[in-house]
Each structure stands twice: as C-alpha cells, then as structure tokens.
Subunit: 451 residues, 2 copies
C-alpha cells in the first residue's frame, strides 16, 4: 500500500508536487485558523472566510475579509504569523530545513523539488541555499523584531504589547505578509518615519529575491582579495536594477499624479514618504501608511500596473515578476532596433528564458483580464476597485480599496485562486496539468530566473 502511494508520487512532476504541498499548507492553515481557539470569544467565521484567510496567509498576500485584530485571539495571531512564515520562506525551504535537522539524506529528487520551488535551474548547492535563506530571513526578522519591539515601547502601555506588535510587524513586513494587528495597517505610524523606514527595509529584504540577498551577503563577507574575482550573477543585476527602477518610477508617478489632490496640503517630506512607501508596498508588501482609496483613480490604476508586475522571482512576492517584465521590455526594444539577439550587461539572454517571460506575461494578461470581467459580473463595485483587487491578489500584494470583505462568494473564490496562482507563479500553474518529461532539467549555467 505504501509502495503504491510512493509510485503515485513519483509519477508526479516537481511542479505538481509543489502545488500539492502548497494546497496541503492551505488545508493545514484552514484547520488552524478555523479552530475556535484562534478566534476571539463571540466571533464566528464562515467557511469561505476561513479558507480566504488561510490562502491569503499561505500566499503572503494580506487581503483580509475580516479585521485581523478584532477577529483572532492571541493564539490566532500567532497561527497567522506562523503561516506567513511558512508561506513566505517557502514550504520547501522549511521542509528541507526539517529534513536536515532530522538528519535525513537529501537526495536528487528532493533537491529537484526545492529547485523548482525556488525557481533555480541547477541542482548544485540547493541545500546550502535553503540553509542560507533560512538563516538570512530569520536574522533579518530577529533584528526587525528587536528594533521595532524596543521602539514600540513608547507607543504601548506594556513591554509585552510592544514586543508582540514588534514580533508580528517584523514577520508581516519581512515575509511581505501584509497582515496587520493595528486594525488599520501602518496608518497609526503615518508621521513616524523611523517605523516606516524599518518597514520599507524589511519589505525590500523579502521582495528583492533570496539569491540577491545571498550574493550580496557573500560579497560583503568576502576578503578584499576575493572580491576582485567575484561578480554578481546576471539574475541579480537584472532583477535588482528592475526592482529599484520600478520603485523610483512608482514614487515619482504617485507624487506627480497626487500633487494637486491627496498631496495638495502636504509638506515635501510627507509627499516623499507617502509616495515612496506606497511605491515600495506595491512590489508586494501590502502594508500602507494611508487609505489608498483616498488616491485618485489614475494613481490607483498605476498602482494596479505596478502590482501586476510584482516582486522579484525567488522572493516572497508575486505578479509576473521583475525579470519577466524586464526581459519583455528589453525584447521589444531590441526588436524595435532591428536586432535579433538580446544582450543585457554584456551577456546574451537565453531564448528559453525569453520564451518563458513572454508566456508568463501573456498568460498573466489573460488571467487578470478574465478575472476582472468575471468580477464585474458577480460584484457591483466600480471597475477600478475590481482591477485594483484583482492585481493586488495576483501580485500577492494585499492592498485593497476596501471591497474585500463585501465580495460575493464567487468573488472570494476568484481572489483565492488568484492569490494561489500569484504565489506558485503562473508558469507553475501552467505546468501543473502537464506530464513530466525526462531530461528537461539540464541547462547551461548562466540563466535568468523567470516568474
């Protein structure tokens, strides 16, 4: 019997296994979040709302159908923080860690699974990579927890409250979870630039991509003579440049579009921090220092476009990912110049990677458009609010113009599916129903990670 189930598992492709693992995580999260122990006394949650919260947490999106602070008990908040951690770092990373701790041998098959989950194209160093990711993220979170918790002492009556807030805020920001237990995101800290700065740094650590963090860490800890021989990978260069260009673009556009509206009575530093924070949060963070529904429609649509692009691959974020966006734009520009081969930073881009980027982008446009039209049928909200909600779910961002709790059941199911697709990536989603082919896993070394 056990033998048979093993053979059934072996017939699945790595992508199918990843999807099954994420689905199992959703199931586990649903059970934990559905426990009466997780709710405040007197609160009852409908099944769809429990599933919604579970998927939102596993996919580190942060869209909420119920106010977290008023609905969940302290135990429930810990459960959500745990699920965010689980979803954010990736089930496979944590799974590998457990295997290592338990002294299990990591075979080729397990390595391949991890490879797929982290979008890596080579087997080598996978286990080392996972260890590094875990160490890095936990270190970042610990520092965030200590800094924020200590700083929050001035805001809260007891040290327990302050460090509890710091604990949750650090995890929610670093995993880009987007959940809050303040009841109104970061609006209570709209004038506290220190809190905002720490949050921006933590969000960027989560959204910029684990391989980038690891390369930067290796560079920083290397000896001076070693550094001369080190070079950053093509992936790190492309994704980091794109990431920061998008942040700058978002900041400038939000500032310009709101200059006469939301920013009309604001000081220069308020305009800077509001624009910068809301630009960074569209990469995947989902926390906000203001009620984004106060922005004009045009700003909300630009933010939707930014959320559609999303964060870096191999990060806690979703969307089509920065590399897909960069490759597709560079492809169009190269084509317009009448050139055939695509070069970035003196390297030629592999045709397979370009194809992946194009497929991801086209599939994403179709998925998002179809979802928007479906929601115009089932919901009665203005189109802008629906587009914002759909791109926020697909980008696993978690910002909302406020319609999430009032969605119909079909609307909630649609958003649940979008968050799930956003997390596993649209390519994985596409390959879920595909039979595995042998020999697909040997590629040359200098490749770019796509969506």
């Amino acid at each position: 019997m056990r033998h048979r189930s093993y053979r059934w598992l072996n017939a699945l492709s790595p992508v199918q296994l990843i999807v099954i693992f994420y689905a199992s995580a959703v199931l586990l999260a649903t059970i934990l979040i559905g426990l009466p122990l997780s709710h405040q006394s007197g609160v009852t949650l409908s099944f769809i709302d429990v599933v919604f919260t579970a998927v939102s947490a596993v996919s580190v999106t942060g869209l909420t159908v119920v106010p977290t602070a008023d609905t969940f008990s302290t135990f429930g908040v810990f459960v959500i923080a745990f699920v965010l951690q689980f979803g954010g770092i990736g089930i496979m990373a944590i799974g590998t860690f457990i295997w290592i701790v338990l002294g299990k041998k990591i075979g080729l098959r397990e390595r391949r699974l991890i490879m797929t989950d982290q979008n890596q194209t080579t087997f080598q160093g996978m286990v080392k990579l996972i260890k590094q990711i875990l160490a890095l993220i936990l270190t970042i979170e610990l520092i965030g927890f200590l800094v924020l918790g200590t700083y929050f002492l001035q805001y809260y009556d007891s040290w327990q409250q302050a460090y509890f807030q710091g604990f949750f805020a650090s995890i929610s920001a670093t995993t880009n979870g987007g959940f809050d237990i303040t009841g109104q995101s970061l609006i209570p800290f709209k004038d506290d630039y220190f809190v905002q700065f720490i949050h921006m740094v933590l969000i960027m650590f989560g959204a910029i991509g684990f391989p980038v963090l690891i390369e930067v860490r290796e560079y920083l800890f290397a000896k001076t003579e070693e550094r001369r021989f080190m070079r950053f990978s093509l992936f790190t260069k492309v994704t980091t440049l794109t990431f920061f260009l998008l942040v700058i673009f978002g900041t400038v556009v939000i500032a310009l579009l709101e200059f006469q509206y939301f920013f009309a009575d604001k000081k220069w530093h308020e305009i800077l921090f509001y624009s910068l924070f809301q630009s960074i949060t569209t990469r995947s963070g989902g926390l906000s220092t203001m009620d984004v529904s106060q922005f004009t429609e045009q700003t909300e649509l630009v933010m939707s476009a930014l959320m559609f692009i999303g964060a870096s691959p191999s990060s806690v974020g979703g969307g089509i990912r920065t590399t897909s966006f960069a490759l597709v734009i560079i492809f169009v520009l190269t084509f317009a110049r009448g050139q055939q081969r695509i070069h970035i930073f003196g390297r030629e881009v592999h045709n397979d990677d370009l194809n992946k980027a194009v497929v991801v982008t086209i599939m994403a446009v179709i998925t998002v458009s179809t979802s928007v039209i479906l929601l115009t049928i089932t919901e009665s909200f203005p189109l802008t609010e629906i587009i914002f909600e759909v791109t926020s779910a697909f980008g696993t961002v978690g910002l909302s113009l406020g319609i999430t709790p009032d969605l119909s059941t079909i609307g909630k199911v649609t958003i649940i599916i979008l968050m799930f697709i956003g997390r596993i990536g649209i390519l994985s989603f596409l390959f879920t129903f595909k039979k595995e082919k042998k020999g697909n896993y040997h590629y040359p070394t200098e490749r770019i990670i796509i969506g």
Copy 2:
C-alpha cells in the same frame, strides 16, 4: 533642388514613407472636411473636431465628435465617403492604381512600398495584387450599393434619397468606415434582418483581409482540374479560422452575458441577430443595430477585448490583428505542452513571425493601458467607457458608449493618435523612427502576415 528632395526621400524607410503618405492623407482630408462647403449652413466646427473627423475617416474608424448627418452637407458626406474609400483600400493601393492608369512604370522601390503597406513579404505580383484588390472592393461596393439602394426605396420618399443612403451605407460597411448618415447607426433597421445581413456580409468582406478574398476568388474561378493543385496559404487558413472563431465566441458570450439583461424581453431571433451583429461589428465594422451603452458592463468589457484583437491584417481593420492573436495563443499552448516548435496546419511557424506577433501584442497592451490611464487623468467618465473608447480607437472599430463628443482636447488628441496607430499598425509605428537596414527584405516564401 529636386534632386536633393529625392535623395531625402530615398533615405526614408518604406514604413516612414507610408506614415508620411497617411499623414498627408490626413492633411488633405482635414482641408476637405474643413471647407465651409462641406458643412451644413450655420454649422461651425472647431479645428480639433475637423482633424478628429479627418483621422477617423482616413483610419476608417468611425468615431465621431459631431453627428455626421446634422453637421455635413451632401458635398461633405461625399467627401467623407471619398476619404473612407481612400483610407480603407489603402493609399498605396490607390496610388499604384493611379500610377498604372497614368502608364507609369512600377519599379522595385514602389513595389516595396506597396509591399509594406499591404503587409506582404514578397515583391512578386504586388501590382497584380493591388489591381485585384481594387477590382474586388469596387465590385463588392457596387453590388452593395445596388442592393441596398434598391431595397431602401421602401424606406425613403425619393429614389435619390434611397440610393444616396445605399451608396454611403455600402461604402461605410465595406470599408468598415463605421460612419452613418442615419443619425443613429443601424438602429433604424434593428428589425430589418435583410439590411443587417447585407451589412454583415459587406463588413466581413472588408475585415477578413484582401489576400483571403483574392485566394477565395481564384479558387472559385479556377477550373475543376486546376483546383486539385490549389491550396490556400497558411495565412488565409489562420486568419480566416481565427476571424470566424472570434465571431462565434463573441456571439455566444454576448448572448449569455445579456440573457438576463438586455435580452430579457427579446425573442430568440432578436437575441441571435443582436449578438451576431454586435460580435461582427467589433472585428472592425463599427456600425451597430443598438445603443451599445445599454449592454451590461461585462459585455462592454468583452467587446473591448474583441476590439483590441481587431480584424485580419491587410484588411481595412485595426487592432493587434487576428494573426498576432492566434500566434500568441498557439505559442502559449505549445509552450504549455513543453514543445519547442510551433505548428499550424502541418506547417512550422517562422520564428520571426512569432517575435513580431509577441512584440505587437506587448506593445498594444502597453499603448492601450497607458492611454486608458492618461484618459482617467484628463476625463471624468467611468473607467469602462474610457476602456471601450480607447480599444475602439486602437481597433479602428468606431463603437462608442457615447463619450466621444464630450472628450477634452487632450482626450481627443489621444484618440486621434490611437486611430492613426491602429490604422498603420503598431509595428509600422514602432519602425517609423528606425533607420532602414539593407537586406531586410529577403524572406522564405511561406510566411504569415502579422499586425
């Protein structure tokens, strides 16, 4: 002096020349439509409205800022019909025809120009092609004129009126011009299925692509023994299949989405004809048997998506074109199956064609999204109405939810640019600013025409 200007002309790429020719046509149309002789007495038109009408006619879009029947004199209506004819069949086709009539020798350079305008990839038979196009379109229009004019005798008081209506209706339908002189499109004929049927046939003749018409004509006129050796080109198969699949898809979706709304009190044949006509008209026709603003928001968004796709290449229509859409979808499906090479109808698609299709689609998504966001800044209409207007202009369709006359000047300029890009094609637009390279015009024979 003359020599110098010739050298300047020779330095331009074919695409640049085509754009200059179309721009000249807009200039000529602007002058003609701006003539007081073209207006009814007492009517004064602003400059931007004259330019808008001129571009709308040259690009055979049919969006109008002023009601055609109430604004233009009989002379003005003839001018518009003339400009529609000019724009619809293509300036180069008419230009070649004039060259032929004037006994001019058609050299390689001129052939190449025509080639670019008609999206053809080989020089051979270009002149013959243009002659065939002109003969075909004029024959179709003549038959349309006679049939409609004669049939209209029952609707109008005098035979002059009936045949004048028939003349304009036949040109407007065949060129997919979308203009009407009834004052309310085809709504007066909403119960006359004969008029609707003739219009649908004429619209399809214009939108299905000239090469398709010519191949079908050759096939029909061939002897039985010749037919056995004839085969339709890959282009004809792909574009025709896609065209009709889109028509069927549109009909079914409109019928389903409006079943409980606009169609709630309609009989089955009304539902069929309303759905079918509005589906066909989104290919590029622009005429309508109803006020499309009576449809639900979801139907309007589906129609926007259909208008974004548009008509066949080398037709009077715009959009990303049926071939781009088909190739991109087939590319995604092929990729999802893990295959490398793209096969349609037993032929392999050339990689260059696929690249073109992808670039067209990506560029179109960016152009349309940017225009929509720009219009949300300058206009105060609901987002759905703006999306509908923008895709209608880009697809040179000409349907509107009624906001065209009330657009701001920036809004009108945006729509003007979109109609122009829609007509010349987004690839031509992309290459307008590119210097020509030698040796770009030799391709293998079995190619597909893209966008």
